[in-house]
């Protein structure tokens, strides 16, 4: 049932975003995503308790990973898109692992959580093409992430 709901949302999004399939619109969505991540970063910095800081970062990263999983499960996506999404997912998975000291990563120290929040945002704010995937796939991902966040 849940999967059907998600698919329905995605279908609606597909229809809704058809006129927006322009590069500059994907840039606006990317901006919106960065704004969300900046808000998270500033909230993390405002929190004193490192446990709460870590919990907030964990929650955010989990939601992003979930959104990416949802999109990559779509059968209509090309193989190239799926590989591109996997590449993006790998980056976020690494951040989640490092935050929690998993998969061979040294756990981010309590005193470094603010810097880590900066790092997550700054990694998005690079002068590179966001991903090598179709604009449609990219827009769906960003919309889903924004909706889930």
């Amino acid at each position: 049932m849940c999967k059907v709901k998600i698919l329905c949302i995605i279908l609606l999004l597909f229809v809704a975003v058809q006129p927006l399939m322009a590069m500059d619109n994907s840039s606006r969505l990317e901006d919106q995503f960065k704004e969300y991540m900046n808000e998270i970063r500033m909230k993390v910095k405002e929190i004193d308790d490192p446990v709460e800081k870590r919990a907030m970062l964990n929650m955010t990263l989990k939601k992003i990973l979930k959104a990416l999983d949802t999109v990559s499960a779509l059968e209509s996506l090309s193989e190239k898109d799926k590989k591109a999404i996997a590449s993006v997912r790998s980056g976020f998975q690494d951040k989640y692992s490092e935050l929690n000291g998993l998969n061979g990563f040294e756990k981010v120290a309590d005193t470094d959580l603010n810097s880590f929040a900066d790092y997550i945002l700054q990694d998005l704010e690079q002068a590179r093409r966001m991903v090598s995937m179709s604009i449609a796939a990219f827009i769906i991902i960003i919309l889903l992430i924004i909706l889930i966040l």
């Binding site: 322009a22 590069m23 500059d24 840039s27 606006r28 990317e30 901006d31 960065k34 704004e35 900046n38 808000e39 970063r41 500033m42 090309s78 193989e79 190239k80 590989k83 591109a84 590449s87 690494d94 951040k95 490092e98 981010v108 470094d112 810097s115 880590f116 900066d118 790092y119 945002l121 700054q122 990694d123 704010e125 690079q126 002068a127 590179r128 093409r129 966001m130 090598s132 604009i135």
Partner: protein, 405 residues
């Protein structure tokens, strides 16, 4: 494919009157300053005394506003990279003495359109002209329009016989460059590609009529600009290149040191360029926690092996990569373009997801040969898999995880 020239504006810069004891003298002085600082179309055309300044430096900025340019400072304030760089370019124009500054600012205006704004400033004599036009599709007419604008205004072309004392700089700011040529109507337009960059440098260098490199320095402030493919395309036209082999934060490579560009005469070109690179590196390391890699390429020392490192990085691929010798392109590309025709340059045919890696990780990489003439300022990211990495070769290779596999 047409370029519509919407309007050609010349703004008038009013000089500040100085305060003198005698009011009459102030009035006379004010009138004098006003007359000679006010820019008009006729002044530019007629070669009035305003064109006889001692300008010796010509800086060209290309600012590509394509894509998401939003980033945030430490306090969470939003900043836009393209606007920041435009402001900095204007600041350099105001403060650098004996310098003329051209700014080509591109902004998308739909799927197959772009708004282009061209600015020209001259210092010490305050002069500014602005041209705006809309680019509908294709690339060639755009470049030729820029060249036309440059040649029309640059003192370099208005003071015959003084070419030898000119120093030229070309700075590009934008996102990772699209390789090869633009797909035009076949796909989303990229406002500036590696071919556009190479063509602009080539055409300008040819017009300068100098024996060696047309530019003392080219800065390519974009992610992955330090690949053998990109360096290979532009190296014939630049004595030195500053680029970022790895991802680069949108706060970009600063050109702040060019406020004092005249220091190049005391320090020498190499030391000045190294100082500018070091300044950019230190600023970025202070501002960000991600990796910072600022590399300086000394063309004379890199050219002998650039084809080898290109071949190593992209074996069997056509295009910018794959051992294409760094020779100058056909100068016919500098003229007005034909309908549907792009500049020269091959298109990367590769498919799949690009993956970048330090060329030093390639077993065929030879440090003793392929790091000659490359100075790298490197700081690893404070987090992530590469946090323990201590150095970078200065060359970023690319491989494609082919989607069909």
């Amino acid at each position: 494919m047409t370029v519509e020239k919407k309007r050609f504006l010349f703004s008038c810069t009013r000089a500040k009157p100085f305060v003198f004891a005698a009011p009459a003298a102030a009035v006379i002085l004010f009138s004098f300053l006003f007359l000679f600082s006010c820019e008009t179309q006729s002044a530019l055309k007629a070669g009035t005394p305003s064109t006889q300044g001692r300008t010796r430096y010509s800086i060209i900025y290309v600012i590509n506003g394509e894509g998401s340019n939003l980033y945030h400072d430490e306090e969470g304030r939003p900043l836009f990279a393209d606007v920041q760089m435009l402001d900095q370019a204007k600041e350099i124009a105001r403060e650098a003495s004996e310098t003329e500054v051209f700014i080509f600012y591109l902004k998308p205006a739909g799927l197959h359109q772009a708004r282009v704004k061209l600015y020209y400033y001259r210092n010490p004599i305050s002069k500014k002209s602005v041209m705006r036009y809309t680019l509908h599709s294709g690339r060639s007419e755009e470049i030729s329009s820029w060249l036309e604008f440059y040649k029309k205004h640059s003192l370099r072309f208005q003071e015959p016989g003084v070419n030898s004392r000119w120093r030229s700089f070309f700075f590009y700011f934008g996102h990772e460059l699209q390789e090869g040529k633009n797909p035009g109507s076949q796909g989303p337009m990229h406002l500036f590609t590696t071919d556009d960059l190479a063509d602009a440098l080539s055409c300008l260098s040819a017009d300068f009529g100098v024996d060696e490199y047309g530019f003392d320095l080219v800065i390519v402030s974009a992610c992955y600009s330090g690949t053998p493919g990109i360096i290979g395309r532009i190296i014939p036209y630049a004595r030195y290149i500053i680029a970022s082999p790895e991802p680069l934060h949108l706060s970009h490579i600063s050109t702040e040191p060019f406020k004092n560009v005249g220091e190049i005469e005391k320090k020498g070109t190499f030391q000045f360029v190294m100082g500018a690179a070091r300044y950019a590196f230190e600023r970025l390391t202070h501002m960000t926690n991600t990796a910072v890699t600022v590399a300086v390429y000394d063309s004379a020392r890199v050219i002998p092996y650039i084809a080898t490192v290109e071949a190593l990085c992209m074996p069997g691929k056509r295009g910018n990569y794959g051992g294409m010798p760094p020779e100058k392109i056909d100068q016919s590309a500098c003229g007005p373009g034909e309908e549907g025709k792009n500049f020269t340059g091959a298109t990367i045919e590769a498919s799949g997801v690009p993956e970048y890696y330090d060329c030093a990780e390639n077993p065929g990489f030879r440090e003793d040969v392929m790091e000659k003439g490359v100075t790298v300022f490197y700081r690893p990211p404070l987090f992530g898999r590469e946090r323990g990495k201590t150095e970078h070769s200065g060359w970023e290779c690319i491989r494609f995880n082919d989607a069909s596999n």
